[in-house]
Amino acid sequence: MFLALNEIKKNKLRFALVIGVLMLVSYLVFFLSGLATGLQDMNRESIDKWDSTHMVLTEESDKSLFESSMSIDDKEDVDAADVAILGQVNAIARSDDQKANVSIFGIDENEFIMPNVTEGEAFSADNEVIAGDGLKDDGFVLGDEIQLSSSEEVLTIVGFTDHARFSAAPVLYGDVDTFHRAKFGEAADQNEDHINAFVIRSNGESVNVENDSLEVIETETFIKNLPGYTEQNLTLTFMIYFLFVVSAVIVAIFLYVLTVQKISMFGVMKAQGISNGYLSRSVVAQTFILASVGVMIGFILAFITGVFLPSAVPVSFDYITMLFYGIVLIVVAILGAVFSVLTIIRIDPLEAIGG
């Protein structure tokens, strides 16, 4: 640490450049991580809020909520601690000049997926809905009457709830009848038993379904099968992992160049009896300091950027994930220093001092 710190103090500009590059890489990693989390939240936060364990969909739906269609009476075939019915339809909601994609959830207000109300009140009559507060960003307010693209029905926002987005669209929670009218319009009466799924909270017990046309899947599996969810996550995760490799290569190149410039100095030190171990530890300590400072500044910058970004940008920082990525960045930077350590070990003090 002694050599490492003193060299950094003496050559501030040179090491500031290394820190600057590491800071930019870590900033990008943290920002992409925030983007990945934000995009995940957009797809799944309403489901996460239910704290459910399983979903029951029809076998032939291929785990797609929209394609799944069953009867409320099928609930009798589901043996689980807590079961909630769920109807779902996508629509475009309009109110005056405001327009937004929404996902309408038909639920039973007495079941566990009934959302909390953060503003206004719960629905209590036909065509009343609790809206996800993301709609506020689109200009919707309490009392707005919403015209749906899929039917002639007009819904009224009587309350707002938080964390209510599904497949990147704000959710409108209403009762099952409201959902039927939104989905089927005049044909609602002919589909009064229709729903899309059952949501299960099992508390650890097994979930059994006595109906061959229904399939029980874990909630996480259901989420991973949401359209584009896994592909989007894999893309961002790949970019993040690639940045880890980039940062290791950058550190390796920088430190290698710095080490090569100091071969003669290291050779003299070795001639004086200073061990490979001491010199190698010094390079590793230096890398640790540079990477830690770079990652720290990158984190602060990402955080500040997140604060000033418009709410339309789906960035959400998960600090545990960021801490993990920060540690990985420091570790890969230290791996990048291995080339320099090997170079130091190979230095012949005799050649270095011109013997």
Binding site: F2, N6, K10, A271, Q272, S275, Y278, I353, G355
Partner: protein, 228 residues
Amino acid sequence: MTVLQLKDVEKTFGSGRKKVEALKKTNFSAERGEFTAIIGPSGSGKSTLLTIIGGLLTPSDGSVNVNGENVTNLKEKERSHIRLREIGFILQASNLVPFLTVADQLRLLDKVKKGNMNKEQLEELYNDLGIADLREKHPSDLSGGERQRVAIAKALYSNPSIILADEPTASLDSDRAYEVMELLKNETKNKQTTTIIVTHDVRLVGYCDKVYRMVDGVLTEEKREINN
């Protein structure tokens, strides 16, 4: 007391037609408090001899004893310990770490040698070498003579039994060169170290107790009147 003894030491490089005998059968010894010069033209083998004494090179044949311990066939790690404990190096070019102040150059040795010198001894070393005022300066702020004095301080740190100096005055003007030789001589006598310098500057041998000449890998002692 004999500090250093070389018995029948030889060094050859390469093999077959490319074989070069850098050092022919050499016997050499040095006593405590003795200041020895090895002179000779470039390529004569004097630096090879110095690096064998310093444990940086292993001889092809013969043995090297430091303070009675045969160090000839020790592994690099053990030789590294011997260098750290028993030998101080002064090199032709400055052997200072460019980003450390003078005080930190010695502090570094203090760390790797696990604090062999107390504060009073360190202060004495600074004063003896006239570098007390240079403590906070970096090598780039020092003159050639000052840098070599600091290099000598590093070599003398923690009282090694042997000081090896390879052309220590090569980059200095005459006045600075004599000054460095005077310092080395005084430190050799005061601290009773064994100092061996390699030089091609015959004007400097007057400071030494013994002078050897190396020609084509053969070392012979020069008989002469000592007038210093």
